[in-house]
Amino acid sequence: MDVLVDAVGKAFRLLLSGDPYLWGIIFRSLQVSGGAVLLGLLVGIPLGTWLGLARFPGRGLAVALVNTGLALPPVVVGLFVYILLSRQGPLGSLGWLYTPSAMVAAQFMLAAPYVAAITVAAVQSVPPELRLEARALGASHWQALALHLREARLSLMAAVAAGFGAVISEVGAVMMVGGNVHGETRVITTAIVLETRRGRFATAMALGLILLGLAFAANAFITHIQQAAPRRRRPLTS
């Protein structure tokens, strides 16, 4: 038990001392996962909106596929991206393997389904009459769609938080395609694996605390939105 208390104490001191190794890793993590979620939004929101509002044969299957994407195992995504980016692979000429770009690509594949799946639910929770009324009042198709997304914006922010929470704590894919290179592709999760193996528990614990903090922040945000959302929607449905 003393070991644990000791490690937590040292972890706080390390974090407060502004240790450059530690903060460099934290910054790289935010960069990679933030970039992946941003790209995930660019793809996931249009895809989710389309799947949520359009009517076409096979739509149910498409939504089911997106929802399956929520359970994509990171190591399988890592394997797929590794093969794609290795020098013999179809995208090998990019030279991305073992660089942050490869990590963003892998985490993008994990984040995009989160964003898309939550967007589907979010746009469907807004009453369709809203768009019809907007059209009746002279709004264009795109203006009506923008209004619709505006109404769903809180849930869409939850999509961001959920996607971020999923990728920031993922270790399998970034370890495989990033390679845990010091100062380049070492992120919070891969560093925790390495520092624990090296017996540097305080450093590992400091990173673990930051990771917990980030996961907590993401989930607190989602919970807050879930609690707030019904109250906001009531005036619309009345």
Partner: protein, 276 residues
């Protein structure tokens, strides 16, 4: 309520340990990724089981540094590593009961097939490393406190180079992962020959420097002091130094690579009290 719960737990433990006693007793052996990645243990384990049906070896393959750290914490019965300085420190700290050499192979510096530095021209490792540093050619280090990493650092200091900068990358991963990375990024790295040979088909790397006496890689087995399964650990250490096991080690790899991956050189054990 708590008393009932604890008695249930105690009973479960008794039942579990009773059912275990019929099973072979486990010897926890921490060893290096090189012995696991090369497949040596897959070959040795069944031979040991036949000789000692009462025991079963559970191998935890990690870097030499971690292997010794786990053992120092009492989480292993025996250790098989290749990091002489770290092993001597382990024995000096009183964590080991006995230590003896088992086998050796050698390290090689591998690099891209076109060898831009032409480090092949250098027969000795420090000069080759100095040349890599001078030309800022990409070098990937294990960076994980493993035996290979320790040796690499000794070679850099022999070369009089403090490695660092854009061309020097620390991977913090096992030998196999680092070789894959070196191959993908056309980089140089230090590898044990066994792991390199066992993966050669999948790598775009060739041996750039070999044969330097500083590249010799000695493996030793240590029986951990006050081990949970000390009898098992002693039996294993005696067995791996026996003629039978040494013959298996000497044959390992001949069929697949046309040459053995390890050279057996077991010597009588070096008890802690004698020390070096």
């Amino acid at each position: 309520m708590r008393r009932i719960l604890s008695s249930v737990i105690v009973n479960l433990i008794i039942i579990a340990s009773a059912s275990c006693s019929a099973e072979p007793r486990e010897i926890v052996l921490t060893s290096t990724t090189s012995t696991e990645d090369s497949g040596l243990f897959e070959t040795l384990a069944p031979v040991f089981s036949r000789a000692y049906p009462d025991y079963r070896v559970r191998v935890i393959a990690v870097g030499s540094g971690e292997a010794l750290r786990l053992a120092a914490r009492g989480d292993a019965d025996a250790v098989l590593t290749h990091s002489p300085r770290a092993e001597e420190a382990f024995m000096a700290a009183g964590h080991g009961e006995s230590r003896r050499p088992v086998m050796y192979n050698d390290f090689v510096i591998v690099g891209p097939t076109d060898d831009p530095a032409d480090v092949c021209g250098f027969p000795d490792a420090p000069s080759a490393l100095a040349c890599i540093a001078e030309h800022h050619l990409l070098f990937i280090s294990r960076g994980d406190d493993s035996g290979t990493h320790a040796r690499e650092q000794e070679l850099w200091s022999a070369a009089g180079v403090e490695p660092g900068g854009e061309w020097y990358r620390e991977a913090g991963q096992g030998m196999g992962a680092v070789l894959m990375m070196a191959s993908e990024r056309r980089a140089y790295t230090l590898s044990d020959r066994g792991t390199y040979l066992s993966m050669r088909d999948r790598l775009d790397l060739e041996v750039a420097v070999e044969g330097d006496p500083r590249l010799r890689n000695q493996y030793s087995v240590i029986v951990v002091r006050d081990a949970l399964n000390g009898d098992g650990a002693r039996a294993f250490a005696d067995w791996i130094a026996s003629d039978r096991a040494q013959a298996v080690i000497g044959e390992f790899g001949v069929e697949r690579f046309g040459r053995p991956l390890f050279t057996p050189n077991a010597a009588p054990s070096d008890p802690a009290s004698v020390g070096r």
